[in-house]
Amino acid sequence: MSLDPHSRPQLAPGCRLGENQGQKVLLMPERALRLIGPSLEIVTRCDGKNSIAKIVAELQKLYSKAQPKKVEEDILGYLQLLHDQRALDFI
């Protein structure tokens, strides 16, 4: 499945941000993902309001030293991974 840049990612029911011993984590059934650096920047923007295109543009600005194309690929790959784990819906 290729992702529609206009769709808006939102954490799926049963998934939410949490904190564990001072670190941000993505909590989901039976597991938790530690969120560090870019993964935290991406997941905090998955609120059902920001489009994928907007998230990409913001992170390209935030990580301006990295190649914009690479930043985009990394974001799409991560969103796809979270979607396949059913942690994310696209609305």
Binding site: M1, A12, P13, G14, C15, R16, G18, E19, N20, Q21, V25, L27, M28, P29, E30, R31, A32, H83, D84, Q85, R86
Partner: protein
């Protein structure tokens, strides 16, 4: 000296042993705790706070049937206040829509609904009560509510021909996650093993099915599956290692490294009514007993796999060899693997089991409901 333990990640809270179902594979121990011995709301709330301080992220509220606790919503609220992710493991009864809303409003993150099969008659036979229709009602209520939902199908020889139908139930619902869990042979399942254990052929067919389903439903429904380890080449890393990731609290407050640990003789469990979870986790005899590698015997002691599977399951070693420190006998490297092979060899052939009607109810040993 065993090494300093890492922090636990999961707390399994057996809130009660009371349950309207009498499943023939229940993981509860043979000796069930009575209602009058159950921990209070206040003690559970303290244990939740202590667990979170220790690093626990995930809380499983289980039983018995946790819905049997009238204070369940209050317990969910205190667990969320302690910063835990709250998972309810339930049969779905007794429950109505108003109570479901109350639990979700209290902060329930995730609802794991168990199924005994896809067909009313065989599911009800396994649970020893009429539960299946209610589960389908609950599934329908969940469709319009925002909470994580997992369906859990417990698999054994007599319902492995229903996998397609089970998956249809899931696909027709709002769930995003399905667990297909082959029965593990402890507790009541150990007592009923002869009638539950699938053949190798059935198991392999089920694994093919899971893999196809996983592929077909990617992005829609996440499929997870647990296989019965009697058929495996290497043992499972039980509980992620003894006293490494999880702690279980029984309805009366004993802290145990797993569901079945009470089968190990001379192992005493400290109680959260007397000590903090920190103290128990860090230094109690039960948690220290099989931590690290000092306790291991050959062939585990010098095995390359010892840091992956931690020697397998201590309770299974106890149940099948009489020695809790032995290599888990499901391991192909265990000198006692022949015991498991003999159990497998005694399973009726696949062709015989698929055409057989389900076993007569009189052959089952049903789990009773405690007082």
């Amino acid at each position: 000296m065993p090494p300093t333990p890492p922090n636990p990640l999961a707390l399994i809270a057996e809130l009660t042993h009371r349950c309207p179902l009498h499943c023939v594979y229940c993981s509860n121990p043979a000796e069930l705790v009575n209602r009058t011995q159950e921990l209070s709301t206040e003690i559970w709330s303290r244990v939740f706070r202590e667990a979170a301080e220790l690093g626990v992220m995930q809380l499983d509220l289980t039983g018995g049937e946790p819905l049997a606790r009238p204070d369940l919503a209050a317990l969910i609220e205190s667990a969320r206040a302690a910063n835990l992710y709250v998972n309810l493991i339930t049969s779905g009864l007794p429950l109505d829509e108003a109570r479901l809303d109350e639990l979700i409003a209290a902060g329930l993150d995730h609802f794991q609904l168990s199924f005994q099969g896809s067909r009313e008659s065989s599911a009800n036979e396994v649970s020893g009560t009429k539960a299946h229709a209610q589960k389908l009602r609950v599934l329908d209520w969940l469709r319009t509510r925002r909470v994580g939902v997992t369906l859990n199908f417990v698999l054994h020889r007599n319902n492995l021909d229903q996998l397609e139908e089970m998956l249809s139930i899931a696909e027709g619902s709002s769930t995003s996650r399905v667990e297909f869990a082959h029965v593990q042979y402890y507790g009541w399942a150990f007592a009923n093993r002869e009638q539950l254990l699938p053949t190798r052929e059935q198991l392999m067919r089920s694994i093919d099915f899971f893999k196809c389903a996983e592929e077909r439903l990617r992005g829609k429904i996440r499929i997870e599956y647990v296989v019965p380890d009697y058929h495996a080449k290497y043992p499972k890393p039980c509980m992620g290692g003894w006293g490494r990731q999880a702690v279980l609290i029984t309805p009366r407050g004993e802290a145990m490294p797993c569901h079945a640990a009470s089968v190990i003789p001379n192992l005493s469990f400290e109680n959260v009514t007397e000590k903090s979870l920190q103290e128990i986790w860090g230094s109690s005899e039960a948690f220290q007993k099989f931590r690290g590698e000092d306790w291991m015997q050959e062939p585990c002691k010098s095995c390359d796999r010892r840091s992956q599977d931690f020697g397998g399951c201590r309770c299974q070693a106890m149940l099948l060899t009489g020695n809790a420190a032995a290599t888990d006998p499901v391991c192909s490297l265990s000198p006692q693997r022949t015991r498991v092979d003999a159990i497998i060899a005694a399973i009726p052939s696949a062709s015989a089991t698929t055409i057989q009607p389900s076993s007569p109810a009189s052959l089952w040993l049903y789990r009773p409901n405690p007082a």
